[in-house]
Amino acid sequence: MPPRGGTIAAVALRRTGLALWRMRFGLRGRRMRRRAVACQLRLACEELGPTFVKLGQLASVRPDLVPAEAAFELERLQDRLPPVPIEPIRATLTAELGAPPERIFATFDPVPVATASIAQVHRATLAHDYRPVVGAMLHAGATVAVKVIRPGVERTIDQDLAVASRWAALLDRVPRLQRLGLRSMLAEFRASLRSELDLRNEGRVADRFARDFADDPLVCVPRVVWRHTTRRVLVSEFVEGWRLSDLSDAERAGVDARGLATHGAEVFLRQVLVHGRFHADLHPANLFVTPDGRICYLDFGIVGRTTPQQRIAIAQVLAATVYGDADRALRYSRELGLEVPERDEAAVRDAVDALMRRHLTESEPADVRGFALGFLSMLADFRIPVPEGYGLLVKALATVEGVARAIYPDIDITRTAAPFATRLVAAQLAQPRRLRERLPAATRAALRELLA
C-alpha cells in the first residue's frame, strides 16, 4: 500500500474504532450511533486534509447518499483548517506574480483573515489604480483580499484522488454498494475540485455574477483585480462587513434584517430561474452583510447551471412545492431527469404529499430544509437515482432558507418564493410558443368542464 494510502487506512481504522467506542459498540440508541459515526467521519475528513474536507463538503450536499445526521455534521467542515505559515504563501505569491507581495501591493498583511481547505486569504492594499471588468474603478490604496491556493494542496489532492479511485473501483464491485454510485460521485468530485483549484474560474464567475446583478443595489460582488490574478492567486476587492455566521443581534439591529433576508432569497431564485447560474456553495460563511445594508457574495468556487428548459421545469416544481401540489411537483421533476418507476409512482406521490404537509403547508413557518432532506432521503429509500445537479439544487434551495434565517430567524421563504414562482410561471405561459402548445389542451379541458 502506498504511504498516503496507508495513512488514509490508519485514520479510517482509528476513527472507526473511536466511533465504535462512542456508540458503546452498538449499545446506544440508533440516533446516538448515527451521531457518533457522523462526528468521527467529520473528524477523519479534517485530519486527512483538503481532499477529504472537500469530499465531506460534497457529501454534505448529497443527503441521498449519506444519512441526514452525517449531512448535517459534514456541513461544519467549512473554514476550520489551521492557517499555512506565511513563508510558503509568500513563495507562492512570488512565483505566481513575479515579485514578493510587498513589492506587488502597497501593503500586505502576513496574518490571514480566512483559511479554508483549498486556499487562505490575506489582506493587502493596491499600489495602483485598477479598472475592473464590472463596476467602478478601484483606486490605489483600496483594500483587497488576496486568496492563495495552499501550497502543496494540488499534489495531495492528486494522490488522494488516485487512492480514492482505486477504492471506488473496488467498492463498486460489491453488489450492495453499487447503488451508491461511488465512481460517478468521484468523477463529479474530481471535476468540481479541478475547477476550484484554478482560481481564475472563480474570478470569471464572480464577474458574470456581478454583471447579472449590476442593476440590484442591494447585491454586492467583490471586484476582481485581474492584473494580480493567476491560476493560484485571486485578488479582489475587500468588503467590510459581518459574515452571516458571525452576525450578532446587535449588528443585526443596524440593518433591515427582514427585508434583506427576503431579498436574499429572491436573489437566489433569480440566479436559478432567470440567469441560469447559481452560487451552489452558499452558506453563512460565504456571505457578508455590509454596514450599508447590502448582501455581499463571496467564494464562487462551486457554481450550478440551469438550461432554459430546466428553468421552466424548476419554476413549475418550485411553484408546485410552495403550493403543496405533489402531483405537479413530481410531473415536472421528471422533466429534470427524475425517473420514478411506474410501480412506485403512487407511493412516491403519497410520500411527497405527506412531506409537503408536514414541512410546508402545516408547519409555521415552513421548513424547506426539512422538506428537502426528507424528499432526498425518500428518493434514496425508493432507490430512485438523483439526476446530476438535482441534488445540488434541492440542497441549495434548503441552504438558502438557512442563510435567510441566519439574517432573520422567523422568515418563511415559501412566502417569498410563492409570488416569485407564480410570476415566473405566468410569464413562461404567456410566451406565444407556449400558448400555442397549451391552447388546444386548455380549450379541450374548458369544453369538457362546460359540457360536464
Partner: protein, 116 residues
C-alpha cells in the same frame, strides 16, 4: 362592393402564382371598354378579374409602403437591441481584457523567474 373586391384582391395576392386562365381573364378584362353593358357574363368575369387585379396591385403597394414604414421603424427598435448587444460585447471585451491581464501577470512571473 369595394370590400368584396378588396377581399378578392387579398385572396389573389396570396395566390399570386395564379393559373394561366386567371392571367388571360385579367388581360381580356383590361382590354374591355369600361361602361359598355351587354357584353355577356364572360365579359363581366373578365372585367371583374381586371378590377380585382388592379385592387391587388394597389394592395401590394400599400403593403410595401407598410413594410417600408416598418423598415423605417426598425432602427428604433434595433437601437435598444443594439444597446443590449453593445453592453454584452463591452462586457466580453472587458472579460477578455481581464484574461489578458491575468496572462500578462503569469508571463511577467515566468520572465522574472528566468532572470533570477
Amino acid at each position: 362592393m369595394t370590400d368584396f373586391v378588396r377581399f378578392l384582391a387579398a385572396w389573389s395576392l396570396l395566390h399570386e402564382s395564379a393559373d394561366e386562365g386567371w392571367k388571360a381573364a385579367v388581360q381580356r378584362g383590361e382590354g374591355l371598354e369600361p361602361g359598355r353593358p351587354g357584353q355577356g357574363p364572360d365579359a363581366f368575369v373578365d372585367g371583374l378579374a381586371a378590377l380585382v387585379n388592379d385592387e391587388k396591385e394597389r394592395l401590394k403597394r400599400e403593403l410595401s409602403t407598410d413594410d417600408a414604414n416598418e423598415a423605417a421603424r426598425e432602427p428604433i427598435r434595433s437601437s435598444a437591441d443594439l444597446a443590449d448587444k453593445l453592453d454584452a460585447v463591452a462586457f466580453e471585451l472587458a472579460e477578455l481584457r481581464g484574461r489578458l491581464e491575468s496572462l500578462q501577470a503569469s508571463v511577467d512571473a515566468l520572465a522574472a523567474r528566468r532572470d533570477d
